[in-house]
């Protein structure tokens, strides 16, 4: 299969897929998601988040991108969720290039005491599935000034859609890497 053929096929799929609203849940990759305090050790972060996307594939400038559920737990026991007092705490926009912006993400942190927290300008990226009709993963990072003793806490979130297609793509990627490595080794020999 040539690269040109792949590109043409992808473009055809994109054109053929009607835009539709999508609700999708993602699961954090604990090995790539963390809380990193300015002072102290990093903690792994696990959990899920659910997105409601206005229309996929994204046509035009942008579409709505809303975090409608968030349940994250740090290894130390602290939790991060959406602020339940806010009507729509995770309203944002998703651009055709996969970048998203949540102007203000209203969170509730619970680490023994509950703290409402509005995070301005949360930005990140998603990876679209075939034809742009689905989401495969999300990555974002932000920092929270928690004050002493933790100081600035860097939060990294990498989440994937745990679907067979995603797993298959992941396997394909890994297999391809392996194949490339084997070819490289053979070439060197």
């Amino acid at each position: 299969m040539s690269l040109r053929w792949l590109v043409l096929l992808g473009g055809a799929l994109l054109l053929a897929t009607p835009a539709r609203a999508l609700t999708t849940s993602l699961t954090l990759d604990p090995s790539a998601s963390s809380l990193l305090p300015e002072a102290g050790a990093a903690e792994g972060l696990s959990g899920t988040l659910t997105l409601a996307v206005g229309a996929l594939p994204v046509a035009g400038a942008a579409t709505s991108f809303d975090v409608i559920d968030l349940a994250l737990t740090a290894a130390g026991g602290g939790t991060i969720g959406l602020d339940p007092t806010v009507g729509a705490p995770g309203l944002g926009v998703l651009h055709p290039d996969g970048s998203f912006l949540i102007p203000t993400l209203f969170l509730r942190l619970d680490g023994g005491t509950t703290v409402p927290l509005a995070l301005p300008d949360v930005m990140g990226e998603v990876v679209f599935g075939p034809g742009g009709a689905s989401l495969l993963s999300l990555a974002t990072a932000f920092a929270v000034d928690a004050g002493p003793p933790a100081g600035l806490v860097s939060v990294t979130v990498n989440a994937v859609v745990p679907e067979p297609g995603t797993l298959g793509l992941l396997a394909a990627g890994l297999a391809t890497l392996g194949l490339a490595r084997r070819q490289l080794v053979e070439d060197l020999r």
């Binding site: 806010v86 309203l91 912006l101 932000f142 929270v144 490339a180």
Partner: protein, 598 residues
């Protein structure tokens, strides 16, 4: 056969799926920067008759105005109270809400609400509360002297002295009003004016302010357009500029939306095209106006009359017998006294305003500095609904029930306490009296009363629901003298009343160089209305007239009613129930704006 380029592409895709990286920038946090409230003054609209305009029409500043502001004052300035949190990233806010105070209100009236809103957005929203032009003519030397004195004082005697000097700066003692309690009728206290001359309070007369004949809606709108333009330059085309007001400020705010800033009748630059939404707090927006409205000739004649020495009042001298400048001065001193000498006998009761006259009758019971302000502003004791907040109660003495005054709601007159001065129970006191079991007409009456079920949305407005005690007296005291102040001492009424007589549409005047309220019918931006069930806008019907006059679709007309809130609670409440609906409204509008839907 798979090419190497295809292999590399798939590998990259796989790596993205398993964990892309995003640059980290500090976003915010509970301690992500101090909230600041700052009075900002910028050049305003150059109204040509106003001192400082520099043109041939300029009316020279009177000696009194020069005493306040120096030899060459420029009154074409616009001031606002900016409430903000600097984002850690240094990025600008995504939304700015500009608010206009209500009748007799200064910018500080919005200080508590602004703090809560800005904190709710952690700096992504700023609030700019407008101080109308006449605020720059308030002689605050006495209040500043008192505040500086109490801040520097180390003994109770020094605090007392600073406060009484501040009060004597504004008011002359009489044999019956011994402000400093020394048994002697002392002269007024003097402080250096802008020219270095020691003088007591420079209280402006009507003839000192004849230039205010030209401070009508047009001048104010053009002042505020400067702020709107500035806000837009900060948030950018994808950010929000929201405009709003409280009480009579809703009329001003809706007038801004309805204004045509281009005097060419053939071209329109509407106020609503410059903003992204309108917020009406405890007020129903622009009314219908007089019928018939003044003709062009009548309008010009009235302006000429207002501008003439000895002509009709250009500013409101008194409201229901209460002299407004004196109320402003007393409120500043009372706020400082309430914070810094709360338990001492009320200084205000030794001033002409509260020690004699109508207010002397209502507030005859000896009170403390703190409880005096409570008795004046609390919804159980204040006769005027427009000046009411739910700040607690006083029950250490008899409370005489009064069914109402000037057509207003019932209230109590506090009688002398047998145990000394009347004291104050704060809004969060668990022992505030309630009706039932108390009888509202029998002393001590009650702080919390149920006015019955919510009427139908289309019923005529009337108060309903269980009274909420939500406003901190300490907050009320602070806003009397901080961040500007609470009272607008010189409320321009002459030209403004003339302009408001056209209601929502001044087309009948036929002269857009004078007044250009011509775009109300095309106003189509989202509107959020918030009323208090114990206030002046207690029902959906309170907003119906205005909402029915504009082009905003029903889906973008939102009304929230806060049960038990009095008129001022909507802006003063300590944990304000108006914040969540405003936050949700702003958040939703911001998404729509980013999506190009506004």
């Amino acid at each position: 056969m798979t090419s190497r380029r295809a292999l590399a592409l798939l590998a990259l895709l796989a790596s993205l799926v398993t964990g892309a990286t995003v640059a980290q920038c500090p976003n915010g946090g509970p301690r992500a920067g101090a909230l600041v409230q700052t009075l900002v003054t910028v050049p305003g609209y150059v109204e040509p008759h106003t001192p400082g305009s520099g043109g041939p029409l300029e009316i020279s500043a009177s000696a009194n105005v020069q005493s306040l502001l120096g030899a060459h004052p420029d009154l074409n300035r616009v001031t606002y109270l900016r409430t903000a949190i600097q984002k850690p990233s240094g990025a600008p806010p995504r939304a700015i809400l500009i608010l206009v105070p209500g009748f007799l209100g200064g910018a500080a009236t919005f200080a508590p609400l602004a703090r809560q809103l800005v904190l709710a957005f952690n700096g992504n929203l700023e609030v700019w509360a407008i101080d109308r032009r006449p605020n720059q003519l308030e002689d605050e030397r006495g209040a500043r002297h008192a505040l500086a004195g109490v801040m520097a004082a180390s003994t109770p005697e020094q605090i007392f002295q600073a406060l009484e000097e501040g009060a004597r700066f504004y008011f002359a003692e009489t044999p019956a009003l011994d402000i400093n309690l020394n048994g002697v009728v002392d002269p007024q206290f003097e402080l250096p004016d802008a020219n270095g001359v020691s003088r007591p309070w420079v209280r402006l007369s009507q003839d000192d302010m004849r230039f205010a004949a030209y401070w009508g809606i047009d001048t104010y709108m053009r002042d505020w357009k400067i702020l709107v333009d500035q806000a837009r330059s900060i948030v950018g085309p994808h950010g929000l500029v929201l405009f709003g007001g409280h009480s009579m400020g809703t009329s001003w705010a809706s007038a801004f939306a309805a204004y045509d800033f281009d005097p060419d009748p053939g071209h329109v630059v509407s106020g609503h095209s410059l903003i992204d939404g309108l917020l009406l707090l405890e007020g129903g927006g622009l009314g219908a106006g007089a019928s018939p409205p003044p003709t062009h000739d009548q309008y010009l004649a009235q302006v000429a009359s207002l501008a003439s020495p000895g002509g009709p009042d250009v500013t409101l001298s008194d409201f229901q017998g209460v002299e407004i400048p004196a109320l402003g001065a007393t409120s500043e001193i009372s706020g400082i006294a309430g914070i810094h000498d709360p338990d001492a006998p009320a200084l205000a009761q030794r001033t002409p305003l509260f020690g004699a006259g109508l207010l002397g009758i209502f507030f005859q019971a000896p009170a403390s500095n703190r409880s005096m302000v409570g008795l004046f502003i609390d919804d159980d004791f204040e006769p005027v609904a427009a000046f009411r907040a739910s700040a607690g109660f006083s029950s250490n003495g008899p409370n005489q029930f009064v069914a109402g005054l000037f057509g207003g709601p019932p209230f109590y007159i506090a009688g002398p306490s047998s145990s000394g001065v009347r004291t104050w129970q704060d809004f969060d006191d668990p022992d505030l009296p309630t009706c039932p079991p108390n009888d509202p007409t029998v002393s001590p009456g009650c702080a919390i009363q149920d006015l019955g079920p919510r009427p139908a949305p289309t019923d005529p407005p009337r108060n309903w629901g269980v009274e909420a005690e939500v406003t901190s007296l300490d907050d009320v005291l602070h806003v009397q003298f901080e961040n500007g102040n609470f009272v607008e001492w010189y409320f321009v009424s002459g030209r403004v009343n003339l302009d408001f007589s056209y209601g929502r549409d001044s087309s009948a005047l036929g002269d857009e160089s004078l007044l250009a309220l011509t775009q109300n019918a095309s106003m189509d931006k989202p509107v959020l209305c918030i009323g208090g069930s114990h206030g002046l806008a207690p029902l959906e019907s309170s907003f119906a007239g205005y909402l029915g006059s504009i082009a905003t679709p029903p889906a973008d007309q939102e009304i929230v009613l806060l049960e038990g809130y009095a008129h001022l609670d909507v802006i003063l409440a300590h944990q304000n129930a108006a914040v969540p609906p405003i936050r949700d409204w702003v958040s939703g509008l911001l998404q729509r704006k980013l999506l190009g839907g506004l």
